[in-house]
């Protein structure tokens, strides 16, 4: 039993300073029995957590789910596959994983809402990014998600109080030459254009304003440059009510 081993309790309680923590982690890497002990000791404290459990505030669920929907997952280290094939049990899960990969790609990487203060970079974020973050973290943020008719996903996070929504479009099939996708806010059955993707684009993140009175958000395939009203059936429609 080395002297450093006596730190196992303090380490499991997160009660060392950072230097000691780093040193102890090096020790753990070469001492499997120490690692097992630490794991059991921190598990022991976790076992007390149902004693202190309490109902979280009502808005927390929507806020957490909205932020996760817009936050790419951290890349895996090393050569591991982008997602665990063994965990994929249904087509729905495959679709979810596809969304996650697209969300992790360059298209929306700029909109990553960092979970750590150390990572958040408020000064560099553009005004629109800040606005998107505000929608995603609004107490009344709601998450809506739909699979488009020919594949791809549309996820919308809306906040009634901010009168705004964020639409994340991912992995739509190519709109074809000289065509594009267009977003619509639908109020009383009337579509109003709220954004036209770049010609040929199959993914985007759009901030939408004035959503309060709208019942739905739709996406349609249109000639390049967009149309005044949808000229083709919507490829995706999400109810906001």
């Amino acid at each position: 039993m080395t002297d450093i081993h006596t730190l196992a309790g303090a380490y499991a309680l997160y009660a060392t300073d950072e230097l000691e923590r780093t040193r102890f982690e090096r020790h753990l890497a070469e001492c499997p029995s120490c690692a097992a002990e630490v794991a059991e000791l921190s598990e022991t404290m976790a076992a007390l957590s149902d004693v202190t459990a309490e109902a979280p505030p009502p808005g927390l669920r929507a806020a957490v789910l909205a932020r996760s929907a817009a936050t790419p997952q951290a890349p895996r280290a090393g050569q591991r596959p982008a997602f665990r094939l063994a965990g994929l049990r249904s087509r729905r899960l495959v679709a979810a994983a596809a969304t996650f990969i697209v969300l992790g790609g360059a298209g929306v990487a700029g909109y990553q809402i960092a979970s750590h203060s150390a990572h958040s970079n408020g000064t560099q974020a553009s005004a629109e990014n800040k606005q998107i973050a505000a929608v995603l973290t609004a107490p009344d943020a709601r998450l809506h998600s739909a699979t488009a008719t020919d594949g791809g996903h549309v996820t919308v996070v809306s906040s009634r109080s901010l009168d705004e929504a964020v639409a994340v479009i991912a992995r739509l099939p190519s709109p074809g030459p000289n065509h594009t996708y267009q977003l619509w806010l639908i109020s009383q059955g009337n579509p109003r254009s709220v954004g036209v993707l770049a010609a040929g684009s199959t993914a985007a993140t759009e901030l939408l304003s004035g959503v309060r009175g709208a019942q739905a958000i739709g996406v349609s395939r249109e000639p390049a440059g967009g149309s005044a009203t949808p000229t083709q059936p919507l490829v995706a429609q999400l109810s906001l009510t």
Partner: protein, 196 residues
């Protein structure tokens, strides 16, 4: 998984927990539905723990969001060989809450270096202890010496380092380290926590 003999005695009404290890693996694959399921299963424990550490409900809400986002982002790092999903998630929650308390404490210290004990740990510990009164784990905590119990509580719920604990209890550093470890081992054995 932790065997349940002590803990289930007092709450036979508790519904069966979904397999959180399995759900966390789905979360790691980017499954948003699985993350919603995970939230429902774990949020009360995460929020309750964080609120006891940071104390302010609004701050607790913010830290809970950050902790759960970290769970979402880094779910692939969960390794069931090294503990349960609950243990992994609550360790993240605990670390983020303690980080916040320490950062605020450091800021306060910079502003006015007026000594110690600006945070009322005693209230937190009293509150936790009262809740424990009604639980089977009380027996296990009572099996600890007073100083083991206090060292663990001050560190875990008060966010103190073992050096702070030593200062507060007027004990030597090696003694505090030993008490934390011995106390946790005794608690582990009493609760029957094992891995694998």
């Amino acid at each position: 998984m932790a065997p349940e003999p002590e803990r289930t005695l007092d709450r036979p009404q508790q519904p069966a927990q979904p397999d959180l290890d399995e759900i966390l693996h789905s979360v790691a694959a980017g499954d948003h539905d699985a993350f919603a399921t995970l939230y429902d299963a774990i949020a009360p424990r995460v929020f309750g723990l964080i609120r006891r550490i940071v104390r302010d409900p609004a701050l607790a809400e913010e830290v809970t969001q950050d902790a759960l986002l970290e769970v979402w982002r880094t779910a692939h790092r969960f390794d069931e060989e090294r503990g349960s999903a609950v243990g992994w998630i609550l360790a993240i929650a605990h670390h983020r809450a303690v980080d916040r308390v320490r950062a605020e404490q450091a800021a306060t210290d910079r502003e006015r270096r007026t000594g110690t004990a600006s945070i009322a740990f005693d209230e937190v510990i009293a509150e936790v202890t009262v809740r424990l009164e009604h639980q089977a784990v009380r027996r296990c905590l009572q099996a600890l010496t007073a100083i083991q119990r206090e060292a663990i509580m001050l560190a875990y719920y008060g966010g103190l380092t073992y050096r702070d604990v030593a200062e507060r209890l007027g004990a030597a550093l090696p003694a505090v380290k030993t008490r934390m470890r011995d106390g946790l081992i005794r608690l582990r054995d009493c609760l029957g926590v094992t891995l694998g």
